[in-house]
């Protein structure tokens, strides 16, 4: 079965402005050679901290940004602009800001119907019925159609945004920090809903998040980004049993689950370096407790540790021991 | 910082140049100037001779080239009305305009800024409403109406101040108040909004939380931040002061540049109009330049930009 999404060798470089009259303009390498696949009915979690490039990857997958290098295949065919309207519908995005995603001056019903009208799906009454059906699918009553975005809660808004996306029957859903701004109890509902939708509709789900616990719950496979590079990729258990030092630090930095249980913390000194001047060799070496000479000089390639698990580090064997 | 200023200066010069160019072509393309100057009875031959003398029958690009070249030698042409050098004609009126403009600016600042701050600090209460009501009144009132009212009261009734003319401080008072109230009103509203916005910021809360004295919070934390948008507004207003006092100048017989401009446009006194446009454009641009520089001085985010972790 063709995977719903095949992202291969994605890179994005932004050109800065020239400093002074001479000299090269600085290049910001936001994403560097990122590859992953998503099968139908599978959720892939893209995790990392701010500035790691995960949102940029999301934008390249949804064709909002053109990759500097690499390709995006949706259902086996290239997904780039320009593309016919119908193809556009195959990938939908849900963002963190629920208020910003909805027009405050239009009723919810109108906003649900709008994409259907743009894509020429159905007719007047038919669209209304379809919108109501989608609302039911996300667990909202039909009377929400008459309301306005500010009149409903954050969790309900996120469901509405989902209903709007589902109206176009997409094949791939990209969630960019979609639950990060929600309360824990509401987050649980939305996560459950996403899980259900993914399974029922056999959607591919690209779940971008900084929250490892949510990703562990929802996603079958996970990729960890650091300064634009994929440092580890594999099934969800890599969060519990990480191979790469950065993944270990991320997982270890999570506050304890139970009181008194000290974090199995690996102290990461310093902060994320600026992507404008990335470190030489392995991007993580300045903060890595295991860094050696080769780490400072040569950027490690992603090495497969077994069939479905890879990590980009020179010293994997020594660290695991 | 120097680089910053130099770039702005360069852009400013280009803009002024563009302004004069547009003005030049618009004046000549919107109707024959000579026709405008003379009534219909004047024979065509006289007009033709006039055109020849002024060089107005030459192709436009040639006229333009001559004009640009003469600018560099400081010659803006002669006033069609009295044959005097156009630059001099305008220069004569500049002191009066500057005096009025300066007085208006200072008056507006002295009234508008404190008013705005007081309104913001007492937001929602009686004081706020009173001050803002006054501000709206100030800028909604047409200035010829206010001017005439002031004349009726202070000149006619009380015989305290002269109703028109130029020369002493007493002559300055009424025109300055007329224009100043409008600008003060606008300024007060602007200052209020800006101060309110800053007051709502977490760093002001934090400063208050540290129990710093109110005055210190206001002067050290609120004002420098609130000043930034207000400065843009002031720059804009400053630029307008040069040519925008036409009505007031008419009401009070104030010999300023604004009045000269309308007269010259009506009479198609091309040279004088060009000089005044140049002056207004230059002032506007200079004001904006000063604002940009002030920004950089006040706000380190603009000075250094971006993050330097």
């Amino acid at each position: 079965m063709t995977p719903i999404l095949q992202a291969h060798g994605l890179s994005k470089v932004y050109q800065g402005r020239r400093q002074g009259l001479f000299g090269k303009p600085p290049a910001l390498r936001a994403v560097d050679n990122v590859s992953f696949d998503i099968a139908a009915g599978e959720a892939f979690g893209l995790v990392g901290e701010s500035g790691c490039g995960k949102s940029t990857v999301g934008r390249m997958v949804s064709a909002a940004t053109q990759p500097t290098a690499g390709s995006v295949l949706v259902d086996g065919a290239p997904f780039t602009r320009p593309m016919p309207l119908a193809r556009r519908a195959e990938v939908q995005v849900v963002f963190q800001d629920t208020l910003g995603a909805l027009n405050p001056r239009l009723s919810i019903g109108r906003q649900l119907v709008e994409p259907l009208a743009i894509h020429g799906i159905g007719d007047g009454d038919g669209r209304k019925a379809m919108a109501e059906a989608k609302l039911a699918e996300v667990g909202l009553p039909a009377d929400v159609m008459e309301r306005y975005p500010h009149e409903v809660s954050g969790g309900q808004r996120q469901r509405i945004v989902l209903a709007r996306s589902l109206g176009l029957e997409p094949k791939l859903l990209i969630c960019d920090e979609a639950v990060s701004a929600l309360d824990v109890s509401v987050q649980a509902h939305i996560v459950n809903l996403l899980s259900e939708l993914k399974h029922k509709r056999q959607l591919g789900l690209l779940f971008i998040s900084h929250d490892l616990r949510v990703v562990n719950h929802l996603c079958e496979r996970v990729g960890v980004l650091y300064l634009g590079s994929m440092v580890e990729i594999g099934p969800r258990r890599i969060l519990r049993m990480p191979a790469h030092p950065y993944t270990r630090a991320l997982a270890g930095a999570l506050p304890a689950g139970r009181p008194g249980e000290r974090r199995k913390r690996i102290v990461l000194s310093g902060e994320l370096p600026s992507p404008l001047s990335p470190p030489s060799g392995c991007p993580f070496h300045p903060r890595c407790p295991h860094a050696t000479d080769i780490c400072r000089q040569v950027k490690p390639a992603l090495r497969m540790l077994d069939a479905d698990h890879g990590a980009a580090c020179h010293r994997l064997e020594e660290i695991a021991a | 910082m120097t680089r910053f200023v130099l770039i702005k200066l360069g852009r400013a010069l280009i803009t002024i140049f563009l302004c004069i160019t547009i003005c030049f072509f618009v004046l000549r393309l919107t109707g024959d100037p000579v026709d405008m100057m003379f009534s219909d009875e004047v024979p065509e031959t006289v007009k033709a001779e006039f055109r020849e003398r002024l060089g107005l029958n030459r192709p436009l690009p040639e006229q333009y080239a001559k004009f640009v070249l003469s600018i560099f030698s400081g010659n803006f042409g002669t006033s069609l009305l009295d044959g005097k050098d156009a630059l001099l004609v305008v220069a004569e009126r500049i002191p009066a305009t500057l005096l009025l403009g300066g007085a208006v600016f200072i008056l507006a600042l002295m009234i508008g800024v404190p008013a705005g701050v007081i309104a913001a600090v007492h937001r929602g209460r009686g004081t706020d409403r009173l001050v803002m009501g006054g501000a709206v009144f100030g800028y909604a009132m047409p200035n010829f109406f206010l001017g005439i009212l002031l004349i009726l009261f202070f000149s006619m009734q009380l015989r305290l101040l002269p109703s028109s003319g130029y020369g002493s401080f007493a002559h300055l008072v009424l025109p300055a108040i007329t224009l100043g109230t409008a600008m003060a009103g606008k300024l007060a509203r602007f200052v209020r909004t800006s101060v309110l916005e800053v007051l709502g910021n977490p760093y002001v809360q934090a400063a208050r939380g540290m129990l710093l004295p109110s005055r210190r919070v206001l002067f050290r934390h609120v004002f420098p931040n609130a000043a930034i948008p207000v400065i843009t507004f002031l720059g804009f207003e400053l630029g307008l002061l040069i040519g925008g006092a036409v009505v007031t100048e008419s009401v009070f017989g104030w010999p300023g540049v604004g009045r000269l401009l309308t007269l010259s446009v009506a009479r198609r006194d091309l040279a004088v109009v060009q000089v005044i446009i140049f002056l207004i454009a230059g002032t506007m641009i200079l004001a904006n330049l000063l604002v940009d520089v002030a920004y950089g001085w006040l706000d380190p985010r603009i000075r250094y930009g971006g993050d330097a972790r």
């Binding site: 824990v184 109890s185 900084h210 616990r213 304890a256 139970r258 | 934090a206 939380g209 129990l211 710093l212």
Partner: protein, 318 residues
């Protein structure tokens, strides 16, 4: 309410109205000297508002209409005007004045409240910048907030609180906006600063993980009221209130995935539409008629916990 050690901050029956509607309804808890106490709850429960009420910094249309906030007696010799409570905020960069150097902002309370000269204040500020773990303190003194990252600015905010020589530190979601690795560093810093400066910390958060990590005691807020309070270990191991239990149960973990998350049905009631009885009753799996009708009583539970519920999960001890 506080068993061992002295109480430094006591909040008793605090009631706050927002636009005429009750937002905080009779909240009571106390903070012991040198203790870390967490106020936990979801958005809209009133925890941030409680902080502002403690500081006495309520916005214009919000008023404290009942209850008291008392600090224990001050140390003699302490400058009267120096703040005894300092606060750090969720958005650390926004809590710093953008047009002033960060070092100057730390030096400010030293000069204003403690009368230090400009040089002395600068020296002390640099020492504090170093003490909160920022490298190259001398140079960083002259930096502006927008030049520094969120994590660094939060350290600066902590340094500023230390400069006030405050006894109580209020922290309103101090790590929520930060990356998880930086969050860990800041939590460590807070613990260290508390030990060394003897600070008492009241931390407001929605993240139960942070609570487990750093706090010894906690109170859970729901819809403007405290539903349960007590030692953190007790509440995590054996919650007495159905809301606390539900909250703990709906958290995702890094462990094996066993079916959907146990989400709480319904939504938090908005202001003005809070039930007469127990606020949680409409969503509570154990809710009965009396819960909707009458406000539940306060009951003590073994292990030093207090719960406000008609049918607490563990037996009540009177």
């Amino acid at each position: 309410m506080h068993a061992d050690g002295e109480t430094i901050l006591a909040v008793t029956d605090l009631c706050v109205d927002v636009g005429g509607r009750r937002a905080i309804d009779g909240v009571s808890f106390s903070l012991g000297k040198g203790q870390t106490f967490c106020l936990v709850g979801e958005s809209g429960c009133g925890k941030s508002l409680t902080c502002r009420a403690i500081l006495g910094q309520l916005p214009p249309d919000i008023r404290q209409v009942g209850g008291t906030v008392t600090l224990s007696a001050a140390q003699p010799g302490r400058p009267r005007k120096a703040p005894r409570i300092a606060m750090i905020y969720q958005d650390s960069t926004a809590s710093l004045n953008p047009v002033l150097k960060v070092g100057e902002q730390i030096a400010e309370p030293l000069r204003v409240h403690f009368g230090l000269s400009e040089q002395a204040a600068q020296k002390e500020a640099m020492r504090l910048i170093d003490a909160v773990g920022i490298a190259d303190a001398k140079r960083r003194y002259h930096a502006y907030p927008h030049e520094l990252s969120g994590g660094t600015n939060q350290r600066i905010a902590i340094a500023r609180a230390l400069a006030c020589r405050a006894e109580v530190l209020l922290a309103d979601e101090p790590t929520t906006a930060l990356d998880v690795t930086v969050q860990a560093q800041i939590l460590d810093l807070l613990a260290e600063v508390q030990r060394e400066a003897g600070l008492s910390v009241l931390l407001v958060t929605h993240d139960l993980g942070v609570v487990a990590e750093i706090a010894s005691d906690m109170a859970v807020m729901y819809a403007g009221r405290i539903v349960e309070s007590g030692p953190v270990s007790r509440l995590f191991d054996a919650p007495s209130h159905p809301y606390t239990e539900a909250l703990l149960a709906c958290l995702p973990t890094l462990g094996e995935v066993e079916g959907p998350l146990a989400a709480i049905p319904g939504v938090v009631p908005p202001l003005g539409r809070r039930p007469d009885g127990c606020g949680f009753a409409p969503r509570c799996p154990r809710g009965r008629d009396i819960c909707r009708a009458e406000r539940p009583p306060l009951a003590g539970i073994a292990g030093g916990a207090l719960v406000v519920c008609h049918f607490p999960l563990t037996g009540a001890v009177q």
